[in-house]
Amino acid sequence: MVFILEDTINGILMGSIYGLTALGLTLIFGVLKVINFAHGSLLMVGMYVAYWAVTLSGAHPYLTLILVIPVMYLFGYYLQDIVIKPIFKAESEVREPITVIIVTTGVWYVLDNLTLLIFGPHYRTIQENPLRGKMLELGGMLISVPKLWGFSAAVLTAAAVYLFLQKTSMGRAIRATSLDREAASLMGIKQFKIYNIAFGIGTATAGIAAVTLVPFYNVFPTVGVLFDIKGFIIVVLGGLGSIGGAILGGMIIGVIESVGPQFMAATWAEGIVYGLFLLFLFVKPSGLFGVRYDW
């Protein structure tokens, strides 16, 4: 039965990385109250940035965080500022403007296909990286080292984001804005700047996820789509807007995906994920951390 344990561990590790990819989604939803359908594409952009950073500099993949985090932050910041902000301005009286879904989907199409246009359809991996194929042996079990690092990154990032929101002045301002935009404005908080920052942070976390994926994963223009739907499921499972919920939701999905196929076809395990998701929505629609989408 050791294999169940092995699969569970793999599921938790991989799942936490899923959670990390979805962290920005839940954060952005928490503040802007919109689902960012372009989140997978942001992850993809992050993966390309990390890929090129490693390939061109030859540095350790994790070292590229120094570059990826600020680049992705700025990318998200200005994406929101230039593309999404006008929607909020045009629909200032709507709390959850559905039109943003369309706009972010438009961003998704543009980003994915721009990448295709620029970098071509090739699948890329970083051949020479010190993490490639590293496995940890633990009592007859094999545990992927890059996934283990991914797990640490997920937990640390979630904790960092949580602490940032709880303990810093900017974090409080973000929470305040998420709870009441108008009242926050009256406190001297610039609503749209907060949106930009939240979007930037969300995008930066996607960048962190990208860096943890790059050592063992392929990079190609449509890679984001693979994580997109998964991200939606994770954030609802964890409770939209809940930071810890995203990581936990990711782990649940990861464990199902990892342990499920040991008892059935992997394609059915995929079905189980959807089934469980729908079941969860019926039973506890507010997600695991059911404080109506807030921190």
């Binding site: 002045s169 301002a173 404005s185 009256l186 406190m187 610039k190």
Partner: protein, 236 residues
Amino acid sequence: MAFLEISNIDVSYGDVQVIFDLSLKVYEGEVVSIIGGNGAGKSTLLKTISGLLHPQQGSISFEGKPIHVSPPEEIVNLGIVQIPEGRKLFTLMSVRDNLIVGGYNNRANRHIAQLMEEVYGLLPRLRERESQLAMTLSGGEQQMVAIGRGLMAKPKLLMLDEPSLGLAPILIRDIFETVRKIADQGTTVLLVEQDVKHSLSLSDRGYVLENGRIEIEGLAEALLENSHVKTAYLGA
């Protein structure tokens, strides 16, 4: 020179014009009441001063600086702070965090600890509730938090939008007493109210706003005796 001077503003909300050619002045250290029924444009007026809305016509200046095109955060930085109608607390944040966010602006954010002490001094109840989520408080306590949050912004001019709305008579008295104390400590207060009796009795001057226009203005005592005010607002 007037502290806050509003000259001939027109304000629209969507397609509907709400305020017509309105002018008013507030002098430093005063308590001024604006009274009028709902739909008269009181909240719209406060939102316009706060920069949430902008006038189509006319100007607003504060300490001599024009502010009618400034965004809300700049106006807060200048020292005009509004406590919005219906309190609008950050419900899922603690009382303490609500207060800290109140001191977010440039003028206040270096003095948070000191300001917090002052607020707790004025509203000792809040210290007891410090770590509770704002949503778990009673209506009166929530209004206290809203006032405390406004004071955290280190206001030169504090604007209150119907602080008594929806409160039991017994709590209304407490609220107005607090406002009185704030004014006594030297903060200029602009009060928008429907509870005419209470608000005018603690004010220096008052304006009566009807259908987006100032209909009557004058000293508070005079207004309390005004026959129109009496029939329309005091139910005499």
